[in-house]
């Protein structure tokens, strides 16, 4: 068991190294042409092995506490990026994306990495589905930020379409995560809804992206707030900020059922 614990920590550091390498290559302008030959892809494979091993070691999905939340967020951002930004035309999004992947993983590296015990409330499949789908949504929102950033700088149509798709996919994954969370809360705490800042912010995030996915259907018009692609992409960037407030701001600053303090 001690050997496996050591191996899983090594895998964590190797995945971080791969993500740092990808970010360095991207910032140096020498990113790979094929996603499957990238350091990011290598990092995702190592990261998946790390998470799988940690799941085995702790007995529960590695999504409890700040360390695991940050590393899963990084993993989901990388996976979402590989899913949505595979094409050659979206290679420019890899630069901001590689930074969005490496930052949470690097932050996790600074934290205590010991596995947390399997508390009875976590001993349910709803825990993994609720948190996993929510983080997958967060990952898509991170990809949305990267694509929106590229679109605002270059006007690339592919970046707009990927940014728009990331909002829809992220909203869908996050919605499914909320449903699973409601079912879990109903069985664990006696109500699908409790009045805490985290729950309120989750609905705020959900409504924000629900509105964002609707607003693309408003035709562009001369008067404010003429809904243009640029405004939609700015709103996608704003969505990342709302997501970070929901994920980290509320969990770290306010009292909540999801508090990480």
């Amino acid at each position: 068991m001690a050997a496996l614990t050591g191996i899983h920590i090594v895998l964590f550091w190797l995945s971080l190294t791969a993500y740092v390498a990808e970010a360095g290559l991207q910032l140096g302008g020498v990113g790979p042409k094929e996603p499957l030959r990238s350091a990011l892809f290598g990092g995702v494979v190592l990261h998946a092995l790390f998470l799988g091993l940690r799941w085995h070691l702790s007995g529960h999905a590695p999504m409890a506490g700040l360390f695991e939340s940050l590393t899963v967020f990084s993993f989901c951002s990388a996976v979402a990026g590989l899913l949505l930004c595979r094409s050659e035309t979206l290679r420019a999004a890899w630069r901001p994306l590689s930074i969005l992947v490496v930052l949470p993983q690097a932050a996790a590296a600074l934290l205590e990495k010991a596995t947390s015990p399997l508390f009875p409330a976590l001993d349910t499949p709803w825990f993994a589905t609720h948190v996993g789908l929510s983080f997958l949504g967060y990952g898509f929102f991170a990809v949305g930020l990267a694509c929106a950033w590229v679109y605002l700088r270059t006007g690339e149509d592919a970046a707009y379409r990927a940014g728009s798709a990331s909002a829809l996919y992220g909203f869908s994954a996050f919605s499914a995560g909320m449903v699973c969370g409601g079912i879990w809360a109903y069985y664990a705490w006696g109500s699908y809804w409790i009045w805490t800042p985290k729950e309120i912010w989750s609905v705020v995030l959900w409504l924000y992206f629900a509105a964002l996915t609707h607003l693309k259907f408003i035709p562009a018009q001369p008067g404010w707030p003429g809904w243009t692609r640029r405004l939609e992409m700015w709103a996608t960037i704003g969505g990342y900020v709302v997501m970070m407030l929901t994920f980290l701001g509320v969990s770290l600053l306010l009292r909540s059922s999801h508090s990480m303090r």
């Binding site: 409330a121 869908s172 309120i200 705020v204 629900a210 609707h214 306010l254």
Partner: protein
Amino acid sequence: MSALWRLLTSLKTCAWLGLLFTVSGAAGSVVMGRHPDLFGDMDAMVFSGWWSQKGFVAPVATLWLYGLLLSTGLLAINAACCTAERLVQIFRGAVTLRRLLPHLMHLAFLGVVLSHLVSATSGDRVKGIQVPEGYFAPIGATGLVLGVDKIHVEMAPQGYPKDFGAAVSLYRGNETVARGWIRSNAPLFHEGYGIYLKTFGPTPSGAPYAEFDANRDPGARFILLSCLLFTVANVLYLFPVRKKDETTD
């Protein structure tokens, strides 16, 4: 009248209401922590009960809640009007699943809001029912009595509970109406009430006791169905668009 209808079916209305909800929710998440005396017991009773006691005593501190309720209600009306208008258009033209899916999601959203309204007005909460092992306690005014036959606690060497549960019996009068084990994530349901094991500990005399909540959420089942409808429609909507459906929404 037509101007009002345009306002109610407008996507811009949806956007502004979403903004109102966002601002109200953000304010509320901060205000809640600063007024624990006001908001600390929001989950201890159904919302209408809490609202009637505290909804009007501090208008400034509860302003965010008015914004939240107003925006939620108007968003529901906005979704209903939008769907009513679009369904008429859809059924006059080519009916495809792709065109119906967003409106199935709207209907699911309405289902969640209305069902939550039912739970918030006609649900029930009985909190903190402490029962020592081998004893009985009434569950609020339900007429049910909860008896704890056995308490099981398994502690880890590190000092946290690995597993805990209670074998309970429910009585109405002298008749046993339900019996079972209650654990974390595994409540006992009877007559619309869910009995939840919240915590455990020793009584002053050293005997073990368990603490339960009993909740009744009459809208919960329909909320689940609405959420499932939403999820299915949402997943189907993610499938690639066929050429002939591309311009439908």
